[in-house]
Amino acid sequence: MNLTIKVWRQDGPSDKGKMVDYKLTDISPDQSFLEMMDVLNNQIIEEGGEPIAFDHDCREGICGMCSMYINGEAHGPGRGVTTCQLHMRSFNDGDTIYVEPWRAKAFPVIKDLVVDRTSFDRIIASGGYVSVNTGAAQDANALPVNKDDADAAFDAATCIGCGACVATCKNSSAMLFVSAKVSQLSLLPQGKVEAHDRVLNMVKQMDEEGFGNCTNTGACEVECPKGISLENIARMNREFMFASLTNK
């Protein structure tokens, strides 16, 4: 396959940045998207340029590090895939492919396609945990958990924190990410104890980070590589309402 790649190049946080065109030839359809980027980078290095910086690590769709906005969609045209799981067979010979970083005030660009997502960590630090110290746990089977609840908690817990929801949302809202963690922990008896404080604190931190509001467009659910459901957002809306109304 022969391709034209248009990539966002930005030297650093204060640089203005622009789209730059690259030509690639002989790309195999079985190659993954990031392997195509590797080839492009080695080509740039050999031509004496500076390679395109992009985040990636596990390359099997679980670490959540890769983060490219490809042809107008987070993680590209595939459904239920991260950028690293996208393969070139999703494209056609002669295609022009646009590659941009996640765009959000809360995800400032570090360089090229690399953005700073530590705002997600700060949201988790504000309450996305169960307050249990090592060694203080009772026997694992002491509290039975309804299987439906356990499965729903698991589905919410599969979030990889990649930020595609934010990147996709027209408002750069982090509601899907935050609600997934809120849901996971509030569905389980272990997490119910501090559910109210958790949802209040996490939403507060989310707002402070500068994410937008949820308009229920549903785009996040469609683009989420793990298919995290909008039901989680509804659950968080519910929990937050009760928590605000009953909080002393």
Binding site: S28, D30, S32, L34, E35, M36, D38, V39, N42, G48, G49, E50, P51, A53, D55, D57, C58, R59, E60, I62, C63, G64, M65, V81, Q85, H87, I110, V114, D116, R117, T118, D121, I124, A125, G128, Y129, V130, V132, N133, T134, G135, A137, Q138, A140, N141, L143, P144, V145, N146, K147, A150, A153, F154, A157, T158, G161, Q184, L185, Q190, G191
Partner: protein, 666 residues
Amino acid sequence: MSLDSKIPEGPIAEKWTNHKNNIKLVNPANKRLIDVIVIGTGLAGGSAAASLAEMGYNVKAFCFQDSPRRAHSIAAQGGINAAKNYQNDGDSTYRLFYDTVKGGDYRSREANVYRLAEVSANIIDQCVAQGVPFAREYGGLLDNRSFGGVQVSRTFYAKGQTGQQLLLGAYSAMERQIGKGKIQMYDRHEMLDLVVVDGKARGIIARNLINGEIERHSAHAVLICSGGYGNVFFLSTNAMGSNATAAWKIHQKGAHFANPCYTQIHPTCIPVSGDYQSKLTLMSESLRNDGRIWVPKKKEDVEAIRSGKLRPREIKEEDRDYYLERRYPSFGNLVPRDVASRAAKERCDAGYGVNQTGEAVFLDFASAIMRYGREAANVQGIHNPDEKTIKKLGDEVIANKYGNLFQMYEKITDDNPYETPMKIYPAVHYTMGGVWVDYNLMTSIPGCYALGEANFSDHGANRLGASALMQGLADGYFVIPYTIGDYLADDIRTGTIPTDTPEFDAAEKAVQERINHFMNNKGSKPVDHFHKRLGKIMWEKCGMARNEKGLKEAIAEIQELRKEFWADVKVPGTANSFNQELEKAGRVADFLELGELMCLDALTRAESCGGHFREESQTDEGEAMRNDKDFTYVAAWEYTGEPSAAKLHKEELKYENIELKQRSYK
């Protein structure tokens, strides 16, 4: 320097308790005066950082990724072992201990393994309390499955994402402490050297990967939890960033490196598809519970499949060779990983590989789908169901168990594993070898510890499935919080370690010089070029089967390649900016030394054991043959300047509770 493993006295079942009762403690008020550096935030590092911070220590945690949640423990799929005996199948601490020692082919330390089995149950309790959503039965209690190399069901799991769920548990515990200010998190930072003051580990030199700044960080103890070194092979199931730099740096500063030749080649990975390949993807071992591995019996069928004339399901049952079931009737498809991998290689070497390159075998779910389908039909009260209904019901059961793995496979290969068997081949996955540690997990540098995959201690020459997660969390949650106190108790009056000392100066200067070399080197080839070549040498000559001639050649070739690398590597960009090529260059430089040490160790160990298979040491049937008389020891290598000149120290392994036997899974 002599090796003192510091194994406590007494009967094996009481060693750990006795040890805990006798080691020194640091009182809560004094813990606040002590700093601990943790390198890596995977299961070992994350759990250690969180636990130590909860106890009151000031923790500084480092990871090269953008968030501690990205560590590669997240990719572990299958599960975590624990001797809970929830399934009433006779499991016990002793059995887990026994299985692990046997699975490790009698090359691990008994006392360490027993402790691991002992604390395994606490790990499950801890994780459930954190909100880890393990799979459950309809009654609300935890579910288990069985894994390779054992005959009980002791593996706890969360679909095919167990590692992710456990890591997110440890990560959230860490974030809780970060929120409290007890952990200072340094993400996008890479440790580039260890600082040793008066013989003790007192700090590190790290590079801020965003702006390239070289930073000094001091502490009273340094924990290396940086994972394994599988990426020496270039292609492995490790993450792209997984590296051995932290472990190699402490090795250069005096920590012995143990059993580097013990690498685990995982039998069920997606085969290589082309030269552009950047990494390999694992298909969880749990698939072997229900999948049957086979190749055609006839060469002409192999040819027909390769050329696309025949589809795998068209091969008649009697023309299939279920070689694991044939060779190992009692364990069948559930033999340990090393055995399964070698068996696949044997078939492919004999010309029965089923893909274009001849390096793949089938993993087939057809019979499991039909079996589960019939069961489900019975449960739902469907009498005399037709084939289609059975298949549909069976597909649903399989989707429930392995849905995400099947999906992952389809995304990569464009093949639907519900309809056609998966193609799999072994790939480098885990490294049992690592930094030598004593019973307290301290390396041969006082104050420097190694946890998780980074150390060598618990898996011997082969790791059993679902044991890596167990070990990482055992080390971090339940071992280091106790044992570190024994060392730090002497440091309560030391005060903050200053960073403006000659030792820090010297370490920073060395780091700076190396970076300068890369930046000023007017080479012609990118880092990947050298990494790929190293990988090729390692895979061919120090991979699934090794021999004296190949290993000697490999050592010479790596030395040559290393020279070429330093002279001709091309690193673009600048040192004081975000520069991923510079990061890679440093890591590959260290792999180029470690690879050589691996070959040296493999050469020295002239026996077959676990994942280390020396062609010179096998039975008539082609099974691995140990040599207990000469090799029942841990090979701990001391750095002397050149990898090939490393000095060998032997720690004799004493088996007081388990009788050494030639492993048999027949």
